[in-house]
Symmetry: C2
Subunit: 688 residues, 2 copies
Amino acid sequence: MFRNKSSLWGFLLSLSTATAAVVGSARADEGMWLFNQLPIEQLKSKHGFEPTPQWADHLMKSSVRFNVGGSASFISSNGLVLTNHHVASDTLYKLSSEKANYLENGFLAKSYDEELKAPDLELNQLVEIIDVTDKVTAAVKPEMPTSEAVAARRAVIDEISKESLKSTGLRSDVVTLFGGGRYHLYRYKKYTDVRLVWAPEASIAFFGGDADNFEYPRFNLDATIFRVYENGQPAKIDHYLKWSDKALAEGELIFVSGNPGRTNRIYTMAALQFQRDKRMPYTLNMLRRREIALQQFGLRGVENARRAKDDLFSVQNSRKAYLGMLGGLQDPAVMKSKQQAEEELLKAIKADKSLAGAADAFTAVAEIQQQQAALLGKSINLNTHLYGIAKQIVELVEEEQKPARDRLPEYSDAGRESLEQQLFSEAPLYADLETHLMADALSMMLENRGADDPVCQKAMMGKGPVDRAAELIGGTKLMDVAARRVLVKGGKAAVAASDDPMIVLARTLDADIRSYRKMTDDLAEKEKQAYAKIAEAMFKTRGTSTYPDATFTLRLAFGVVKGYEQAGQQLPPWTTLGGTYAHESAHVGQKDFVLPESWKKAKAKLNPEMNFNFVSSADIIGGNSGSPVVNRSGELVGLIFDGNLQSLPANYIFDDRQMRATSVSSQAIKHALEYVYDARGLVDQLGK
Amino acid sequence: MFRNKSSLWGFLLSLSTATAAVVGSARADEGMWLFNQLPIEQLKSKHGFEPTPQWADHLMKSSVRFNVGGSASFISSNGLVLTNHHVASDTLYKLSSEKANYLENGFLAKSYDEELKAPDLELNQLVEIIDVTDKVTAAVKPEMPTSEAVAARRAVIDEISKESLKSTGLRSDVVTLFGGGRYHLYRYKKYTDVRLVWAPEASIAFFGGDADNFEYPRFNLDATIFRVYENGQPAKIDHYLKWSDKALAEGELIFVSGNPGRTNRIYTMAALQFQRDKRMPYTLNMLRRREIALQQFGLRGVENARRAKDDLFSVQNSRKAYLGMLGGLQDPAVMKSKQQAEEELLKAIKADKSLAGAADAFTAVAEIQQQQAALLGKSINLNTHLYGIAKQIVELVEEEQKPARDRLPEYSDAGRESLEQQLFSEAPLYADLETHLMADALSMMLENRGADDPVCQKAMMGKGPVDRAAELIGGTKLMDVAARRVLVKGGKAAVAASDDPMIVLARTLDADIRSYRKMTDDLAEKEKQAYAKIAEAMFKTRGTSTYPDATFTLRLAFGVVKGYEQAGQQLPPWTTLGGTYAHESAHVGQKDFVLPESWKKAKAKLNPEMNFNFVSSADIIGGNSGSPVVNRSGELVGLIFDGNLQSLPANYIFDDRQMRATSVSSQAIKHALEYVYDARGLVDQLGK
């Protein structure tokens, strides 16, 4: 699943510090294009299609970003939003309880009244992009030392954001593109009253489970519908997608408008080797560890399993995705191709005296990898919700007192509202699960740093991980949102005076965490500067008409509906609804291949020939989950929910021979709503 | 489960190189005692019981060792052998197929004819122990350099074994005890025609699954019965256990006669820290990785799940056991207790000039840990059956040409028959599972050594792990036992000429493996010498009347039937048959808590008050699985199958406050055979 969940596992995504650099010149249907720099020529020459500014503007404004990770689209004038079940799953989980398990059993609101308010969702609609490169770069003088440059850049970015927020009322993010080669201001309309309208059962949304994840052929109704509200009423939406009523054609040109989370196509060979030999193996070990810990917790009982389910799903998804990425890096053909590209670029750099700095940048990147390797496993991260909350409170009351230029960027004034929405979320937390995960997190810290390490000694207070976890979770009041509010309101003094054991722990570790953070931030900054130089060299030698690495901001990808060859077999471009039942029959006795009752009952009513899931050559990655797929007319034909295993190395390199994006067909969604879920009222609103 | 499986995961057990040193003076009911050095005084003074030589000899000869890991006992004059289902599971798996899944569904032979021959079991009955310390130590001169000392010791040990084998026809192993302080010759009668008589369903043998494993209270019928044959007839057995017909009493003295695999109670603080901070975390990462890989394979289909089951079970069991051990090491109280003991010993050493070398030994151990840490992850181990076979063949044909003193010890002439039984086993292998695991093993090697490492380059031949694994498993003929025989018979020339890709791979890696092995063997030898000095100091300061660390040889433990306190709750010394049904009811909806049909049908016939599983304070560890538990009269009262979570740190330190050994009551086994399995013919043979 192409999720890019930011909450619990965000730290995994942030492990990789280099972001947002330029990518090689696009061949094939490659590219995650900026909406203000679309590949018009390429589309014209290759596909005979020229997108008009109106076409692009409409698609951009019909697109929605899930702030916690994931993409979506407006699909009606009265605020309906279509995304994936697995993007919605975090909210479905938070809305569920032991008695009403919507994540597992699905949900349908028959009227506005029945729609369920999500506890902490924020949806963003991109409405404007403004190039602010000149303003940002003017604030940073070449003679500034690194730390001063960082502070100056932070200050000007904060100023631009705040000014924009003040003048427009819109969420305003300055996005670093091309590794610092460009800075764009993204203005978003924000929706925070988001309500659940419909979700299918997990067993059809994720039919085939972990076994089928990232595989193809697929048969998944990985879709969920929300509605955005304003002032307590369904929001009036100007830009939303019409529903295509034509069946897909093989070879048809399609577009994907969504928010790919991160790619690292700029990476040098040294960086790829570090990823392959150090970072990925380390990350995979962490993921497997967490997966087993969550499985173990779930084995204790049915309700335990429900409580662990959302995290478990997320971790399993990441594990499979990382394995696929690592598989790409361990494939000598992939590395050879990257090696050749690097050699070519280095040759071009050597031929141009003005690019001398770029050659040094490669050396700098290589050195930075060594330093990063030395820091692996040294981070102080007790990955539980309650510790995360405590840490955020301790940091927030400190940071809010500083001027913008000296703050950690996640505590900017512009981001405060979004931060508080998460911090004060009423979503349920479970003490038993938190205790279990805290014990494992403490144990991992002891293993990573060595149990005699002073930081460990401070954290453990003479106890073993199990006892210490019980003491922390048993003693903290942070489960109660009111207690969090009191601390934040009380500011630094209240936090300093608190004897809540989790706050005490976060306070105790604060200095060490900041010191580690300083090291990684400095490395990240140096790496960024090095990649900016490399990007500049690429602009000079290959031209500027290209796309930057993904940054979890809106991009347009394109491609054609197209099967592929795998192990000597030609796979079809799509599967059918009828094939779903055959897939079940072929996997009797496997728990993840049992269709829900609703589908069993509806079998006779469904059109078995209708296409269900399809693959296309569009260039997507994690974060694109929930992206609308549209045709030349801008009509909705599908909903991205996955990529195949072969697409996972797209993090580093694109190759359209086997890489495929997997979608649910929009027709199948509508058909299922009508005949499986009897949701005619909802169907009538689609595209209207 | 207290299994000590040597086949696939043997390498995990062998990771820890120090073995068999002396342990501190025994308090409480501590100790895994040598049968030729029983704690007579302790038993007399504490429990008012004095075992006679006849009592001990009978128990020793009634005890059975499963050569692949695990313990058992003779329970009838016509060759019946009682062990755990989880010790038998490897054989049950090998005897099963897609059509007849004995591992899952159980088995009962109604007559001798129906008994199923195990493909590769070897059972050992210890018949004699001879102290050969003088002979071994005389062969090693103090002036010899390390490598020469190792060779000289190997030569004399081989000579003693061969001589004994020749003169008695018995399997003859020289066992290193007290870290080299003592050498004993163990003579075993060997049984290789072993047939399956009865096994229950996995769902009752392992009721509660991974969730209940190492937990208490328990309700497991973890028992299986084999029969040994000689010359095609049921063997006539002189020493076998009678079945006690009395119910257990709380506080009753019991004895456990079995083969604990390994303990490391001699470990210095430096060694414990290395285990805690390096070795255990590394091993756990490997185990979790394997667990996920096997789970992923099993998700592909019901038959896949069956194929992966035995390994998966074994890995999950190890993972839980290692976590428990690590938990002990991460408990400051445990480490403090070890620290104090070490400080006391060091004080005593300093007070005695003749023990000056022992103080240096502590420093040496600490240095060796550093060197071992540097080698972690550098081993070249492609952990699959087929690669293991290829490696063994390549090594065997080389080693058999060398004189005994220069050989790797596992290729001694004395051990050849046992080795060939495994190497030429007709047990089924599955190409799909082997391919899946080989891809993961190759990937792990790339991660551990870095993909650009020369050894990796040689192994991969320009391919990625998935492609290379497919090529290796697809191309090898080693699935066919005849092909293995041809290569072994053809010796070095045949192996050198082979173009079997797996043999080519093993040949290619041979030199690097040997060079790594040399490093670890040298470290192990140095460590052994250091611990021998420490052991000597302990003998001098605490007396010699103690027990050595476990060495997978027969030991006697003792204790009393006794509950314990956990989280403020007093747990009873035993559970009942009736409790089993209540345990099922308390876990509705959990797949590992569903009783088999046979138990549901028999409910009314069973005595609900009869004790089912019980705990005792006996000092056991992995390898003790299947050990008989007997009373003062030497009658069978139980069958060890597990220890509680609290017992896992017993690897390093014994503490009888909460540490408990868990057994199936012998009465319950008989009762179930009669009323659940309708195996009256078998019941009539028990103890007769």
